[in-house]
């Protein structure tokens, strides 16, 4: 089992969700976050002149998938979240030791 953690543009959430759902990836957790990559922040307008905002609002999607479906999920997210401009985000993949469904006590991939 792998956990996929994708940092994406806020406005790409629905495209990513729909694309994942179409391939059977239904469950996910979404968090509003702030962050930045190598482009640093952006300039915004102040009362007169501009100021730099160092962190930009983004969304983090987390989902756990069976090992053999990891590449499929990564491909779907990368395609749906891409605009080609700086700031499209990143995907991180982690190994997952176990999963517990609290209601039934099921373990492993059955519990996802």
């Amino acid at each position: 089992m792998k956990k996929i953690e994708a940092i994406i543009r806020i406005e790409k959430l629905d495209e990513v969700r729909v694309a994942l759902e179409k391939e059977g990836f239904v469950g996910m957790t979404v968090t509003e976050i702030k962050g930045r990559g190598s482009q640093k922040g952006v300039m915004l307008e102040w009362r007169a002149g501009e100021y730099r905002v160092e962190f930009l609002p983004k969304l983090k999607i987390e989902l756990v998938v069976n090992g053999d479906r990891t590449e499929a999920a990564i491909r779907i997210i990368a395609e749906a979240a891409r605009t080609g401009a700086i700031g499209d985000g990143k995907i991180f993949i982690y190994p997952v030791e176990d999963v517990v469904r609290i209601r039934t006590g099921e373990r492993g991939i059955e519990a996802v």
Binding site: E45, W46, R47, A48, G49, E50, Y51, R52, V53, E54
Partner: protein, 404 residues
């Protein structure tokens, strides 16, 4: 003889101007960081309560009481003794004296509240209360007497300030500059971004100020006839011209933004305040437009020199007020207000001289007296919070409350 129309308008105007102080709290709160939003609102609304009491106990008497050498009023109206339902013929012959007093109270409240923009995010609340109480007593009350009190030396000189360009805006703007120099920059100012926490708050506050300004300037006619209408129209047009001009300037530099539009409106409204009862609608537009240009570049300059006069009270109200008071000497017309004067453009260059004396004397007195007062209060009561209190934010460290 009491006129019910005049009385009704002045009482409604009083309520409009009273609303401006909490509106100012929101205007300022949206510009500070999230950890200081409540503190910033509190600085304004606490003054609504504090200065209301000061004004009733002795402030009104010091400003409008029997003249002492042209400089200050006497103590004849302490505790509003003798200020009753009958009109005071010298100030407003058609409304109750109490109505005139409470209308003026709203101005006495908002003026020190304007200054709070200079020291948000680092002010020690107890030091602030002492500073402001003394500022109202030793700076606002005498200045109000100079300009508006019967026997006040600037009033006697013939200098005109319809609704407080000198008394409110120049005095608050220069005081803000002085107290910002005494208290110093916010921690890490210029090193880390200080993002506005809530732009909708600021815009809501700005346009509630705009709304209240109809009472501020329109009510200053102290009657409900043509002059009030003229002042109200001038007020709206100056705010509008300044807001549009500000938007165009920011568009030329980059993008037309909401924070700029709102700030521009306030600069124009501040500038037209002293002139609003003496000028034509077209003159009001010209005053607003020029105010936006002056105030916009003063903010740019203020940021460039690294001065943390945090919310630009000097740039908006100080510069706007100075320009407006001088503009009276250019644009005033007796055709608009027979009790006023003609300005330079209407054949009377002398008026500009009187306006210049008023602008300079009020600015100098406010700056110097505030600087000394702030130094003294800082030495005894401390104006600035401790470093860790500033880092945590004043909402928690000063008031024990948290915002959304």
């Amino acid at each position: 003889m009491i006129n019910s129309g005049d009385t009704a308008w002045v009482l409604i105007s009083t309520a409009l101007v009273i609303l401006m102080t909490p509106a100012l709290g929101f205007f300022y709160a949206g510009l500070v960081r999230k950890k200081n939003v409540l503190s910033t609102i509190m600085l304004s609304v606490a003054l609504l309560a504090l200065i209301s009491l000061q004004w009733a106990f002795f402030g009104y008497s010091l400003a409008f009481g029997a003249d002492r050498g042209g400089l200050i009023g006497g103590l004849n109206w302490l505790g509003l003794n003798g200020v009753g339902q009958a009109p005071n013929a010298a100030y407003a012959p058609t409304i109750p004296h109490l109505a005139f007093m409470v209308f003026q109270l709203a101005f006495a409240v908002i003026t020190p509240a304007l200054i709070t923009g200079a020291f948000v995010e680092r002010i020690n609340f107890s030091g602030f209360l002492v500073f402001t109480f003394l500022w109202a007593t030793f700076i606002y009350d005498p200045l109000a007497h100079w300009v508006w009190g019967v026997g006040g030396w600037l009033r006697t000189l013939g200098a005109l300030d319809f609704a407080g360009g000198a008394v409110v805006h120049i005095s608050a703007g220069l005081a803000a500059l002085a107290v910002a120099l005494v208290i110093g920059k916010r921690k890490d100012y210029g090193k880390i971004p200080m993002e506005p926490s809530n732009i909708p708050f600021t815009v809501l506050g700005a346009f509630l100020l705009w709304f209240g300004w109809f009472g501020f300037n329109g009510g200053s006619a102290l009657s409900s006839g043509g002059l009030a209408a003229s002042a109200l129209v001038a007020t709206n047009l100056a705010g509008a011209a300044a807001a549009i001009t500000w938007m165009v300037i920011s568009w030329i530099h980059k993008r037309p933004n909401l924070l700029g539009l709102a700030t521009g409106g306030i600069a124009g409204l501040a500038a037209v305040t002293p002139a609003s009862g003496f000028i034509s609608p077209l003159s009001a537009m010209a005053i607003g437009m020029v105010a936006a240009i002056f105030c916009y570049y003063m903010i740019i300059f203020r940021v460039r020199v690294g001065l943390d006069e945090s919310l630009d009270v000097f740039a908006c109200h100080g510069i706007g007020g100075l320009w407006g008071v001088l503009a009276v000497g250019l644009f005033a017309e007796k055709a608009v207000n027979a009790a006023g004067a003609d300005g330079l453009f209407f054949g009377n260059p002398g008026q500009l001289g009187a306006q210049l004396i008023m602008a300079a004397s009020v600015a100098l007195f406010s700056f110097i007296a505030t600087y000394i007062l702030a130094k003294v209060v800082d030495a005894i009561f401390v104006l600035r919070v401790k470093k860790n209190e500033e880092e945590i934010g004043l909402d928690i460290s000063q008031h024990g409350e948290t915002v959304y």
